[in-house]
């Protein structure tokens, strides 16, 4: 098996305890980092070419370098993980909270930030408890608080619980939420919170998995990380595999070296499509991503490789739908999700998502009309003009233009299935 970075403690049931963590090298990376200058730590991360694991895939090193040098800066870790079928941060939060905390401290040191927050979605009650426990232990261990390990560097770290709203994964909505407000994404520009973030101060927002890589990168060097993977996609990545596969789960896989097919079919990974059926469609990077079809299965698991096929690796979640599945239903359910989770600021997203959902519901449950198929596409076009990838948008954040992805994918490929729904007065498949 290839190198494991963030799931190195996978074998231990008690991987979340400080005892196990310390016994397996926790906080060694931090100690090493503290012995280096902050700039040197940044340089390692740059050398690692660590791409953000939250969805947008922006290089962490570049993001860090945008942070205006300002005495009041914040580091915020995004543990909102709510993109449907994404469950890799859940794994890291519950199973290896010390690795996460250590990564946060390393990032804070590199950025010379003295106040950091970990935002964890509220539904992770156990994860919240484990990270809180880990933070308490880290303080007791001298890894947090004043004068960390005698280095003179101090950091206060606060766990902030979310309260149930997908949009708070969007980094500016997350900051609003962390400020005690409704999770309304902020209008751009500025495009990055590095300019204006939490409380209006420069802020870096990084995903849980992104920072969980840091202890390893510091311990082993950025070059060792960059040696894994290929091109811009370096290191390993967690993929959350779900849907119609024999062995759904979270798998750490070296980037680019494996393909979607490997992930789905290899026995130690997905173990094949459930019941030996054929793949009909897969969602390659969260429900915001345009779908892949059987001919795309040999695409390597790399950011640029997937982008080249007009989709995205996004949050690293892959949903497999087998040949028996109803595509209208899948598009409807995903659209229902967006409709429920739209924050409600922008007219096209607020009203468009609900309208689309209701039309799809009619198609699926009876009452569909022939003109509905083109109506769907035209409404999608009003949210994401041109229906191109990457999308154009008429909204503030990219939740809006994510809505059309599944509808557009499903209609483009399976238009006749939609028409059959009209003829049949609903879905032939049941559920």
């Amino acid at each position: 098996m290839s190198t494991t970075i963030v799931t190195a403690r996978r074998a231990f049931d008690d991987s979340f305890t400080i005892e196990r963590a310390l016994a397996t090298g926790a906080y060694e990376g931090l100690k090493k980092a503290l012995s280096m200058t902050p700039e040197a730590v940044c340089a390692e991360v740059d050398a690692a070419s660590l791409l953000g694991r939250g969805g947008a895939g922006f290089p962490a090193g570049r993001k860090w370098s945008m942070l205006r040098k300002n005495p009041t800066t914040y580091l915020v870790i995004n543990g909102d993980e709510s993109e449907p079928a994404t469950f890799k941060d859940h794994y890291l939060i519950e199973r290896d909270p010390h690795q996460l905390v250590e990564g946060v401290i390393i990032a804070a040191y590199a950025l010379q930030v003295t106040q950091a927050f970990i935002f964890i979605r509220g539904e992770f009650a156990l994860g919240l408890e484990r990270v809180t426990q880990a933070i308490n232990e880290a303080y007791a261990h001298g890894a947090l608080g004043r004068n960390i390990f005698g280095s003179g560097f101090s950091l206060d770290l606060v766990v902030h619980p979310g309260a149930g709203a997908y949009i708070c994964g969007e980094e500016t909505a997350l900051l609003e939420s962390l400020e005690g407000k409704r999770g309304f994404p902020r209008i751009k520009p500025p495009f990055f919170p590095a300019a204006i973030g939490l409380y209006g101060e420069p802020t870096v927002v990084n995903n849980v998995e992104t920072v969980s890589n840091l202890p390893w990168i510091v311990s082993n060097g950025g070059a060792a990380f960059a040696a894994l993977g290929e091109g811009r996609s370096t290191g390993t990545r967690l993929f959350a595999l779900s849907g119609d596969v024999e062995r759904p789960g979270v798998f750490e896989v070296e980037m680019v070296k494996s393909t979607f097919r490997d992930l789905i079919e290899r026995p130690e990974l997905g173990g094949g499509v459930r019941g030996g059926k054929a793949v009909k469609a897969i969602i390659p990077g969260g429900v915001s991503a345009p779908w892949f079809f059987p001919e795309d299965l040999d695409t390597p698991l790399g950011q640029d490789e997937v982008a080249a096929k007009n989709s995205m690796l996004g949050s690293g979640s892959i949903v497999v739908m087998d040949e028996t599945r109803c595509m209208v239903r899948a598009a409807w359910r995903i659209t229902k999700f967006f409709s429920r989770e739209s924050c409600g600021q922008c007219t096209p997203c607020r009203e468009g998502s609900g309208w689309l959902e209701r039309v799809l519901y009619r198609l699926e449950h009876g009452g569909g009309r022939m003109e509905d198929v083109d109506l769907l596409l035209d409404l999608c076009d009003n949210i994401a003009p041109g229906l191109t990838w990457p999308p154009q948008q008429t909204t503030i954040c990219v939740l809006g233009p994510s809505i059309p992805s599944s509808i557009h994918s499903a209609i483009s490929r399976f238009r006749e299935e939609f028409i059959a729904h009209v003829h049949d007065g609903g879905c032939r498949h049941g559920r």
Partner: protein, 205 residues
């Protein structure tokens, strides 16, 4: 007169103190209040407004944005069943329908005994054990109608209290008091760190 119990009030004040700005504690305080009352009462929202220095309308406005915060009473156990894509593929809708029948209430409703509230949730990020079910935001990993029935029976009989506290109690581990870096120290160190880094940046040019 505080609506929060003295212990809760102390916790609330400690929570407010964790943040650079008071309003940031708004959502954590809503969770705390739900821990006491099960849902957000008007009195609690008024008190949270005072603690965070915002109006009660802003507290309510913020709270109602979030699915986990309830401004109306809910059952002791909130049962959430996911029907999002991965769970849908694993039969989430059937499980939800079964739960409706078993509990005798529709999605969003509460059983007449006030024990269970049923919710249809969006993805809970546990898609490998699907359909995903949470009770009071604890993953129960119960994927079949039979297992769900057994769990509901157990809860109704007063079981599993250690594992699943009643609704509103989000986390039982508290940030240990006293470890916090004092605010003025943070400010000082921040300024010093900023200055030192600026100096280093200058030097490296």
């Amino acid at each position: 007169m505080s609506h929060f119990s003295p212990a809760l009030r102390a916790k609330a004040e400690a929570t407010v103190a964790l943040y650079p700005k008071k309003r940031s504690a708004l959502i954590p305080l809503c969770h705390l209040a739900q821990g006491q009352d099960g849902y957000l009462t008007e009195a609690a929202m008024v008190e949270i407004g005072e603690l965070c220095e915002v109006t009660a309308a802003e507290v309510r406005g913020t709270a109602t944005f979030y699915d986990m915060l309830h401004t109306d009473p809910v059952g002791k156990y909130v049962v959430g069943i996911c029907t999002n894509i991965a769970c849908m593929l694993a039969g989430g809708d059937d499980l939800l329908e079964h739960a409706e029948q078993r509990l005798g209430c529709a999605v969003g409703g509460t059983t007449t005994d006030g024990l269970f509230t049923l919710e249809e949730t969006e993805c809970l990020a546990d898609c490998d054990i699907a359909p995903c079910v949470q009770v009071n935001h604890r993953f129960v990993r119960t994927t079949t109608p039979e297992a769900l029935d057994a769990l509901l029976d157990e809860l109704a009989a007063g079981g599993r209290v250690d594992e699943i506290p009643s609704h509103g109690t989000l986390i039982r581990v508290e940030r240990t008091v006293g470890l916090q870096v004092p605010k003025d120290v943070i400010a000082e160190e921040r300024a010093a760190a900023g200055a030192a880094q600026a100096a280093r940046m200058e030097g490296s040019k």
